[in-house]
């Protein structure tokens, strides 16, 4: 699969980490944007329209889990991958429950992360495509259901 079209938003307060990771992902042909806290993430989603969001949990200001909850509610077609150094089993369960696509612990292999991003994007794509198909067939309810599938509500 071509990763050229995948738009990724990195959310992490560790600038050194987030910038380096952004560089590496860009080198792998992804479109990458970076923000350093939760509030920025919520506003960035508006104009950047990312496909996949890589989200840290422990950040100053808005907590990652809160960002996840809000994103899933407002933009159910953005796939969120949590990447955190503070991952406990409880956090993982909570993230999955709120509709997070996956849960990774720092530090992680670039290849692993890339793989997850691609899978997430593919799933989003499939979901969107089938929703469009249903919409074209006039079954808007089903289309909405598909889009809201992993929405926490």
């Amino acid at each position: 699969m071509k990763s050229k079209n995948i738009k990724v938003l990195l959310v992490d307060d560790e600038e050194a980490f987030v910038n380096t990771l952004a560089n590496r992902l860009k080198m792998r042909d992804l479109k990458v944007e970076t923000v350093y806290d939760g509030e920025q993430a919520l506003s960035a989603v508006e104009d950047k329209e990312p496909d996949v969001m890589i989200l840290d949990l422990k950040m100053p200001g808005l907590h990652g889990m809160e960002v996840l909850r809000k994103i899933r509610k407002a933009y159910p077609n953005i796939q969120v991958i949590v990447l955190t150094g503070h991952g406990t089993e409880k956090d993982e369960e909570e993230a999955k429950r709120l509709g997070g696509f996956d849960f990774l612990k720092k530090p992680t292999d670039i290849e692993t992360l890339l793989g997850k991003i691609k899978v997430a994007y593919k799933e989003k794509l499939e979901k969107t495509l089938s929703a469009i198909a249903f919409a074209e067939a006039g079954e808007f309810d089903t289309a909405r259901e598909i889009m809201d599938e992993e929405n926490g509500n």
């Binding site: 560790e14 050194a16 980490f17 380096t20 990771l21 560089n23 590496r24 080198m27 150094g85 503070h86 991952g87 406990t88 089993e89 612990k105 720092k106 530090p107 992680t108 670039i110």
Partner: protein
Amino acid sequence: MFSFPIETAATVYDTLLRIYVLSHICVLNRGLNLSILRFAMKIQNVIGSLKDLFTYRSNISNADFGERRYKSLQRTFIFRMAPLILVPLFILIFASYYLLQNLFHEESRQQLAWDIENATNSIEYFVDVKISALRFLASGHRYEHLSDPQLLAKVFAGFKREFGVVVDLGLIDKHGIQQSYAGPYNLQGKDYANQEWFHKAVTRGIYVSDVFLGYRRLPHFAIAVKNDEPDKETFWILRATIDMETLNRLLSSIKLGKDDDAFIINHSGTLQTPSQHHGNVLEQYPIPTLVRQRGTTIVDIDEKDRPPYVFGYAFIKDSSWILCVVEKSGAGSRIAAVFRTEYFALLAVTVCLILIASFRMIHVMVNWIKESDQKREEALREVEHATKLASIGRLAAGVSHEINNPLAIINEKAGLIRDILTLSENNLDRDKFLTNVNGILDSVKRARTITHQLLGFARRMDVTPEVINLNDVVKEVLGFLEKETLFRDVNIKQHLTENLPRIKSNRSRLQQVFLNITNNAIDALDTGGSIEIITDLKDADTVRAIIKDNGHGIDAATLKHIFDPFFTTKHKKKGTGLGLFISYGIIKKLGGQILVESEINKGTTFSIELPINHSAATTS
């Protein structure tokens, strides 16, 4: 609970002492006060020692734990218990001994009284019979008839045949002259006019004399019967004498010991029969004050410088005789002497038995205390260990979190360098840089393994209980390791006990533990080694799995640290030193225990014991 009355006694005593001191100030009678003071001090000592006996004082210093402490505890128990047991026992024994001795004494007095009464009765009867016989004789014969010595001899012969023991028979006229005489002595014509018995017989009609020597110089007594002849206004006396020996024989019915004495005295204390210890007939006996009363009197006599004795006496009617018995080794004391040996033997045996029993009891009690102390200490250690484990878990998780972030930066930076290098042109230094960057990335991976495992530690301590079969867990783990064992040519023998009770535990955690230990066992083996896995029922509440390898073994120094975190003997890249630490934590959490034994070059055995029904698994 015992100390209360003692405390009360002590308070009462203190008050008494205070009153005493006040009285000492007021009263100037020093002598009396001094003796009161001495008495008070004695009471104080007794109460003091009683207080000691009933008071608990800790005599354990902090360093004084272990065997010595229980030895001293046992000694303390014994020293405190022994007087408590023995003092009342001795009091009981001596009181009962005293009472029994009194009983025996009383019994022997009764026996003595009975004997004396019997002897008195037989003497009285003896004398009565003689008197009756003489009166009958006197009334049946005429004076003229009896004054013929030949006839008198005939009558005497008949009399002797019927009544025996009579020495002689004499007829005395009113002037006191013996008119005729039958007997072994030549006493015819003897004049008794001046003798006391004659006068008494004349006045009383019947007279029984004291023992006297008389003309024949032999101790005897006389029985005289006066026969009046009113028509002739005259009288005569028929007299029979009886040997003292006869009287003496009558005393033989009294049972006597070798120091005892039975004899007859008259009212003035002259011995009428020989006494074993107080002289011969007609000698004077040092007569105690005797009270004339009916029947027999028994008195205990306790004189200075002489052993106490029992003196019994009875007045004999129609005579001036008193039957006396001196009992020095009374029947009572004789019985008591036999009894005393047995009694004290019994006492010794009882005391021994009680002492042995109570010492045994104390020994058992001290052992109970020791055991419960040990159990408590063990439980404390367990709790301490569990707390330690929990805090290590928390600390590890905290540290891991903080390390993960910088680790992630290193990871990305190094990754970026590698990415750049990979994309850049091939120059001389590129490979060198790449090797070093890969080194950094490998180290990050190693560090990550550790932090993730530590993070998992807290997570792994969270166990949800489920009902599982231990054998299934073992089989699953062996399934995972199939390839590894084939590759390493390790022979795995299974001895799984069928129908093991299912246990309340956690499958995945147990899998992790078994996987870890079995992996270690495989690592310890050279190619071709073998591992034995046994499951069995240890006791009614515990199942057990034993994993035994015949590998290179673990030395004692290593064995001590085997469950410590970050302790490993494996190559740095292979082990983090957390496997057994986590396994240990899991088994503890599941309420079980994990034991290890090892011998160099023989192999290592891990035993995992798990409770069948573990309730604590649900609590956290």
